[in-house]
Amino acid sequence: MKEKCSFDEIEIGMEMGPLEFDVSPEAIKEYRNWARWEVGGGDNPANALPGIFLINHVRMLTTTLGGAGSRIWAKSQHEFLNPIRVDSKLVKRGKIVEKYLKRGKQYLIYEIETRDQDGRLIMRSRETSFFGESKEGS
């Protein structure tokens, strides 16, 4: 994990990632357990689950910002554009697009694109979070 940086040091346009993920049956099983996802959903068994790897948006922040990536989620937007296929590989890239202070809280807005190994755009995400105290005491 990167050393923590202060809110002032976070620059608009700062890039996050890339982070790669294998959409393995094991990863799907792990997410299904985490999210307590029950049987059901789409009809195509070749597709994974829509919420899988959203937790890695947190990982992208912490990898980029260290302790300053310690966030509490405020808003979350996602546009789904293509299925996440089982046994595919995903690449997430993002950047910080806005930061502001509101009621004493330090907010960040960041956008993330998820593509598969062929470059196909899978989803676009826009996340808003505010700073939460980290385990490193930042």
Binding site: G40, G41, N47, L54, H57, V58, G67, S70, I72, Q77
Partner: protein
């Protein structure tokens, strides 16, 4: 029950009940997801991550829209109401608010929410939409 473009505005899609769960992951650094720390800040325990709260609502939407969701699904969620801790009983709900012709189908627009029946609070509110043929 699958999505139907002829559904009436005001209709509530099938809700989804869920018992909240906060898994431990090795890259989590936010203290609010640490049980002891969260209690020192007045919470009942470590808060379930927003991505999982979104995931609960996504499961409801995916159950209704099926594989249409993969290419035409959109969700915008705001987290409010103190969140949830492991063991809380949650219910995801969605109501059709409008419809709009789009390409060869109809896009259904919904208000969505996630209710925490343990605390009595709404903990996620927002909108979602999906095109159905």
């Amino acid at each position: 029950m699958k999505a139907d473009k002829n559904v009436e505005v005001g209709w509530e899609i099938p809700s989804l009940g869920k018992t909240a769960y906060s898994p431990k992951v090795d890259f989590e650094v936010t203290q609010i997801h640490d049980d002891e720390y969260a209690k020192t800040r007045g919470f009942r325990g470590d808060l379930v991550g927003g991505n999982f709260l979104t995931g609960y609502v996504l499961e409801m939407l995916y159950r209704y829209f099926g594989d249409h969701w993969w290419k035409h699904g959109r969700i915008a969620a705001t987290f409010i109401g103190g969140g949830a801790v492991t063991g809380d009983e949650l219910v995801a709900k969605g109501v059709v608010t409008s419809k709009q012709a789009e390409d060869s189908g109809v896009r259904l627009f919904l208000d969505i929410r996630l209710e925490n029946h343990t605390t009595g609070n709404k903990i996620l509110v927002g909108t979602a939409s999906c095109r159905v043929p």
